[in-house]
Chain length 379, copies 2
Amino acid sequence: MNITIDREILIENLNIISKGLPNKSPMPILTGIKLDATDTDLFLTSSNSDISVEVDINDSSLKIESSGSTVVPGRFFIDIIRKINSKYVNLFLSDDKILVIKADRGEFKLHIMDPLDYPKIDFVALENPLELHSDVLKEIVKTTVFATSTSEKKPILTGVNFNSNNNRIIVTATDSFRLAQKVVEIGEYKDFNITIPAKSLDELSKAVDSYDGNINFYFSNNKLLAQYKNVMFQTRLLDGNYPETARLVNDSFNNVVKFNKDELIEAVERVSLLSPRDKDRKNEITYSIIKLNIKMDRTVEISTNYINIGDAREEIIPTYIEVTNPIMIGFSSRYLIEALRSFNSTEISLNLKGEIRPFIVKGEKDYNLTQLILPVRMD
Amino acid sequence: MNITIDREILIENLNIISKGLPNKSPMPILTGIKLDATDTDLFLTSSNSDISVEVDINDSSLKIESSGSTVVPGRFFIDIIRKINSKYVNLFLSDDKILVIKADRGEFKLHIMDPLDYPKIDFVALENPLELHSDVLKEIVKTTVFATSTSEKKPILTGVNFNSNNNRIIVTATDSFRLAQKVVEIGEYKDFNITIPAKSLDELSKAVDSYDGNINFYFSNNKLLAQYKNVMFQTRLLDGNYPETARLVNDSFNNVVKFNKDELIEAVERVSLLSPRDKDRKNEITYSIIKLNIKMDRTVEISTNYINIGDAREEIIPTYIEVTNPIMIGFSSRYLIEALRSFNSTEISLNLKGEIRPFIVKGEKDYNLTQLILPVRMD
C-alpha cells in the first residue's frame, strides 16, 4: 500500500471514523483503524461494541500508487494526522509491519496489525431506506437524549425508543423520573419499534454535525445503519420491550401556567443556589429540589431551603395563568432546566394536574414536543 | 447592618476576596467572608492557611443605612451575588443570625456566623514599600511559577525565591529537574531573600489581572503584603533556605543553536505524539522524553521512540548554529515546551555544554530570562 492524500480530507473522514473507535477494547485490534486502498478508493473502518463506521474516500487528491490493507493504532494515527501541518500526506507500508507517514520534513512510523485479524463488519443490507433529514435527527437528539437513564439497572432506558406507525414516529426517552417525547412526521413506511443506545445517537449526531441533507436509515432486527454521503454508520439496537408511556403524556392537565422560558430558567437557577446539592459525577450538574407555588393571586413563587445554610425565594410573573386551585409542587430543578432548554419556543407552559402528579412542559412553537417531570413529595 | 450597593462593584471586590477563600477549612468560620460596614466603608475579608485578603469599598453607590459586622457562608454568598441580575443589592441583618439579600423580586436568606469568632488578620505594617508595576509581577509569574515543584517532599521548592541585592531581584523557581530565572531591576532597596508560595503568586497575579499600576510590597520575616488600590493581599512566606543555583545558570555554554520559537514548539509537539506518556494528573500534561540530535551538517533532528507503537523523526533547520561537536541529548518535551512558552521572543537559542549536562534556553528579546533544563541519560 502506498497512497497520497490531501490531509484536510483525511482528517475530515478520520473525525467521522473516530465515533466508532474505542479507547480500550477486550479485542486490541479494535483500537486500530482499518485502511483498505483499492485501485480507486480508500476505505477507513472503525468498530466498538456498539458502533461500526466505514467511510469510502474517493477524493480527487487521492493518489493510489499501490493498493493494500492494514490496521494502524487508531488514536495515534488520528493524533499524528491532526498535528502535522503539511498539505498532503504520504502513507506507505515499508518492510514488515510498519506504516510510514511522511509529511514535509517529518516522518512517523507506526507498528501495524494484521488486517486479516480485523473482524468483518456485517452491515445491514441497503434496501428500503427510511429517509430523515439531518436537521430532524439533530433535533431528536437535542430534545430526547438528555432524558435517558445513565444507570445500567434497566438497560432499555439507556436508549431512545423510536415507535413508528401511521406515518409518524413517536420518539421517547425516560429515566423513569422524567420523560421526553418528540413526534416526527414521516412518509409511508413500515411499522417499527426499536430502541437505539443514547450514546450511538449522540455520536451519529456529532458525525453529521456539519452535514446538511438526507440520511438513509436501514433496519435489521438488531442493528440500524445510517448512510449518507460516503459514510456508513451502524449501531446495535437495545434488546427488550420499551415501557408503555403513552398514558402518562396523554393525560389531561387542567392547570396551565405560561412563562417566558429564559426568565423561568434564570429564576430557577438562582433559587437553586440554595438547595441541597448532589453532584452527578458524570455530568457535574447539580440535582436539587425546588418548590413551585402557584397562588390564586396569579403569582408564582419558586423557593428552596438548605438546612444550616439558608433559603431562597423568588416571585415570577406568568405570562398566562389558568388554575382551578393553588398548587404547591416540588421537583428536581435540573430536570426542569434540561426540559426547558430542549424547547425552541420563547414562551413555554407548565401543565399540571395536581400536587403529586406528573406535569408536562410544552412550547408554543414546539407542538410535537412534550417534556414530562415527576414531582417529589414535599415535607 | 443594612447596606445597599451596586452589584457590579460588589462582584468585582468579591472576585478579589475569593482568592483568599478556602473551599474547606479545619476552622469552619474561615469558609465565611467577613463583612464590616462602618459609617462610610464596607470591608470584606477572607483568609486561608496561606493567603489573607481585605478590600475596602468606598464606592459612591454604597448606601449604609446602619453599620455592623457579620460573617456569611463565602461560596454561597459569592454564587448568589454573581447569579442575581439586579443593578443594586440590599444586604441587611434580620433577626438573630440571618443575612437577607434582596434583589428585585428575589430574596435570599443566609445563616450567618459570629464575627467575634473570626480570627484577627495581622497585616504587615505599611512602612517602607517596594514598588513593582503590575506588569512586572505578571511577567514574573508567567516566566517562573510553572517551574516550581508540585511535590511536598521539598516544601521550599513549591515556592518562588526572590533574592534581592544591588538594585535587582533574582527570581528563581525550580523543581530540581528544570529551573527558571528572571532578573528584575529595581530602585534602591534593602536586601532580602524570601520564598513565596507559588499558589499565592498565582492568586495575586489573577487578582491584579485587570489592574494596571504599581503594587506596594511590604515585608515581615514570615509574611508579604501586597497593597494596591483598595486591596490588601497578604501571603505567608515559606520557611527554609532556598538552594544556591547561580552556579548552574552562570556556567559557560559553548554550543549555540537558534530556532524560530513557534516552529520548534510545533515540531516538538508533533514528535512527542510518539513518545511514552505519563499523564500528570493535576495538569493533564504529558511528560515525554524526546531526543535532540545536533549534527555537524548544521541540521537538527528531533526524534522519539514508543515501544510497540512506533517512532517519529523530524528535521528542523536552525536559524543559526555554532557547535564544536555533534550533540545528542534527551529530555522531557514538556519542560522544553513550557520553557519556550515563557519567552516573548520570536527567536530563541539553546545553549549547550555537552550531552549529559544541563542546557539553557535564552530569548533574543528576553535578556533577563533564563530557562535551564536537565537532560536524561539516553540508552
